[in-house]
Amino acid sequence: MTVSAAQPGSVPPVTHRLVADKLVTAREAVLLVRDGDHIAIGGTLYSRTPMALLFELLRTGRTGLTLSRPLACHETELFLACGAAERIVTSWVGIGLRWGLSPVLRHYVENGLASYDEWSHLALGLRYKAAAMGVPFLPTRTMLGSGLADRTGTQRVSCPYTGEELLAVPALAPDVTILHAHRADVYGNVQVDGYRHMDVDMARAARRVIVSAEEIVAPEVIEAAPGSTMLPHFTVDAVVEAPFGSYPHECYGRYEADFRHFDDYVALLREHGPDGARRYVDRNVLGQADFAGFLETAGAGRLDELTRAAQELTSRAGNTT
């Protein structure tokens, strides 16, 4: 039986990749994205977001994108405000309670300018996982009886062994998964410290995978700690070196998120409404030669502060309850 790409649950065959040097620039890597693609964004909320790659993607002027992510943060708002994305698939949108409801989400979705397919956190995770496993759906008890199940048209399935009724969440296979990691070798063996979020499943599910890393290391460095490797080379198309590549979001153990930057962004939205997000892109993306230029606006002192804070937090010492 053949299934069309548009059919819920359809999972494309994997891409054959060579054992080859895949190191490219961010600018070269995002050429893998086409207009209308579904992009899965690694990390979650303001953690390990592949910001350097996303800024470069914004620069290409691609349109008609669908973005999916476990919890969507300010990066997703930027794509909505620039007219790059018209559909988001996630379980939550915002920066955090302290920054209030997203005026960008409200403007685009309430006025029908973009659609928001809402799934529960686990349901979205199982959708990536189904595609990562190469099956069209996974059965689950979550989201049963909810409006989310009705609104997404998710079907039920009867267990052939016990007769139990379960929800059958359809596989979600991104066209391109973009993620940021702590280290990778040029072949695309990828390591992270701390949380893995939904990165592994969304990468294995995707047709194409772009990985940026804080550091490009020799294969021997990867081999010295194979337990930290979350993706093998044959799942990855392109590798990009991007120190502070998640800034202003955090990278576990490396640097904390820059809340002052969020405060400034939200102040722009308060002043200019959704147009504030476009101004943000003009200033921080289009107004810079590259991501390094954007990092310079933060200042080395600020990056040092965020680095020290991260090191203190993950050193496991101190006063705990």
Binding site: T44, L45, Y46, S47, P70, L71, S91, W92, V93, G96, L97, R98, L101, S102, L105, R106, E110, E118, S120, H121, L122, A123, G125, L126, Y128, T140, R141, T142, M143, L144, G145, S146, G147, L148, R151, E164, E165, L166, L167, G194, Y195, R196, H197, M198, V200, D201, E250, G253, E256, A257, F259, D263, V266, A310, L313, T314, R316, G318, T320, T321
Partner: protein, 259 residues
Amino acid sequence: MSDVTPEERMAITASRLLDDHRVVFAGVGMPLLASGLARRRQAPHLTIVLEGGIIGTRLHPGQLPISTNEMRAAYGAPMLTDISDIFLYAQRGFFDYGFLGAAQVDRYGNINTSFIGDPDSPKVRLPGSGGAADIICLCREIFIVTSHERRRFVDTVDFVTSPGYLTGGESRRAAGLTSGQPAAVVTDLALLDFEPQTKEMRLRQVQPGVSVAEVQAATGFPLLLGEEITELAEPSAVELEMLRELSGEGPAGPRAGAA
């Protein structure tokens, strides 16, 4: 103590519901404060789990996370896993308690965090479920913690993001939700539960100095009353001190640049 804030009152009331040697699926904000307080007081072996994939976070007083996915949420945790995996522990049945907030909650404990108004043409598009729908479907005992306002406590939610007892009676079970159940609603005015047969929300205790009429006035549907409505104990000096130290209202200050 007159200087107790409504948030502190809710966190302390919620923390008392947590027993030792249990596993609680908490969220940031009030649930984390309640869970952290319980660990410091009556439940030192309470395991706090967060949806970022953290098992056994120990919390850094005054430096609590805003996101369950940021590194400070993992402070002192013995195990980190991925997001889907943490929810699959819940689906397997390992998590005794789950905490939820609510933009709207109805008489059967259904929660809406998606839309105000018609979902096809919403007046307000709220952020969404996050893990809330999963927590209410998969954890054993669910505690809903929210401020008690008429606009929140509605007869029927505009949208069921997180299914409580649905239309009451056996409807939750009939929908396939066989493991957990909403157990209590904690507010700044009262502690409520659900009548065992009809599954309607029921007033059990009021916060100190609050009358039944005040609770009813802040509720958008006729409240079922328990047989004997008693008053909750005032927050003790110890509870308040522990809570304030944890939240950073005490000696350790909150994260710089707070909005």
